[in-house]
């Protein structure tokens, strides 16, 4: 696990990142609310720099069974991966929620892949897109793909990176008030990506603190 202080965020940067994540996730939650017509209850986002192995362990503290996830990678000024994760035993309940509850079970099973994909696409784009907008940058977000397995398998989908390498790990869990649906949003960024993020966070902090965010007036 990397504990290099040059790569960790300072308090103000950490605050700014939490703020961005909060706003991004709230946007995503509003979108989900609209799709499931139910209140979405969000945890406080946790932000940490850990190894990928540790990130998998953190997820496993919440869910010990098999998981299904919508995965989208993003690149551009920031690079990383975003996942919307559900316990596999629960996924049909989500599908039922987003299809409005008036479809027969066989249609729900047929649509599971699609419904998860589309839901994930909306939530992850909502979160990433909002963060990108606030940082005044743009991201290319990949098409959603469905992954199944353990938390280790979900976080290591391309097998290319070292599981001991440090990542910025953002993790939020949510439930629906009136349905037995619970899920997780996870964002991971490799440390080179974290450097780019620090730069953008500093620019964001400057804009927020000198009050020029809304309007730029030429002298």
């Amino acid at each position: 696990m990397a504990e290099d202080s040059a790569l960790l965020l300072d308090d103000l940067e950490r605050d700014a990142l939490s703020e961005l994540v909060n706003i991004g996730v709230s946007r995503a939650a509003a979108a989900l609310r609209s799709m499931v017509v139910d209140e979405v209850l969000l945890s406080v986002p946790s932000v940490s720099v850990v190894s990928r192995a540790e990130a998998s362990r953190l997820i496993r503290e919440y869910e010990t069974g098999r998981l299904v996830a919508v995965h989208q990678s993003f690149r551009g000024d920031l690079k990383g991966r975003a996942l919307l994760i559900f316990p596999e035993t629960n996924s049909l309940e989500l599908v039922r929620a987003v299809t409005g509850g008036d479809l027969p079970l066989e249609d729900i099973v047929d649509l599971e892949q699609e419904a998860l994909s589309e839901t994930g696409n909306i939530i992850l784009n909502g979160c990433l897109g909002t963060i990108a907008n606030m940082l005044h940058r743009s991201l290319h977000v990949s098409l959603p793909e469905i992954l199944r397995g353990s938390s280790e398998q979900l976080l290591d989908s391309n097998g290319a990176t070292d599981e001991d390498a440090a990542v910025l790990f953002l993790f939020i869990n949510f439930t629906l008030r009136n349905r037995a649906v619970r899920g997780y949003i996870a964002l991971l960024m490799d440390l080179p990506g974290l450097q780019a993020l620090r730069t953008l966070l500093r620019l964001y902090i400057e804009r927020m603190s000198d009050g020029t965010e809304a309007v730029h007036v030429e002298p």
Binding site: R27, A31, S34, M35, V98, T99, G100, L111, E114, A115, S117, E118, N121, I122, N125, G126, G129, T130, A132, N133, S138, L139, V141, L143
Partner: protein, 125 residues
């Protein structure tokens, strides 16, 4: 006047959701579905829709390119790009391609406003 609405999205669920909202807003209008840009082009020729709703992020040609093509070939057709990708850049590019940008998930209110604008535009032309 009953219009035909081309709905282009690789997600069947998304097409279902749009068709459902369309049915409740304008029960006499007909959705024409296509899963990608290629099918959309075929549907434009065969069904001659009056309005188009295009998903942005699809395999193959994306919705923004398709919007630009439609705008060139059918300049009077009201077109909306519908996307989960709510980044500013996408909305700006949609407008540059002569289309309205609508965020996913599509609400009755958002689609209703767009369809009302489309109806007025089509009645005028």
């Amino acid at each position: 006047m009953a219009y035909k609405v081309l709905v282009v999205d690789d997600s069947k669920l998304a097409r279902m959701a749009v068709a459902k909202i369309l049915r409740s807003l304008q029960p006499d209008w007909t959705p024409v579905e296509a899963a990608n840009a290629e099918e959309a082009v075929a549907a434009l020729a065969a069904a001659k829709p009056d309005v188009a709703l295009l998903d942005f992020n699809m395999p193959g040609k994306d919705g923004l390119s398709l919007a630009a093509d439609i705008h060139a070939a059918h300049p009077g057709m009201p077109v909306a790009v519908v996307s989960a990708n709510i980044q500013t850049e996408i909305a700006v590019r949609a407008r540059a391609a002569g289309a309205v940008f609508l965020a996913k998930p599509l609400t009755e209110q958002a689609l209703g406003q767009f369809l009302e604008g489309a109806r007025v535009q089509l009645a005028r032309d």
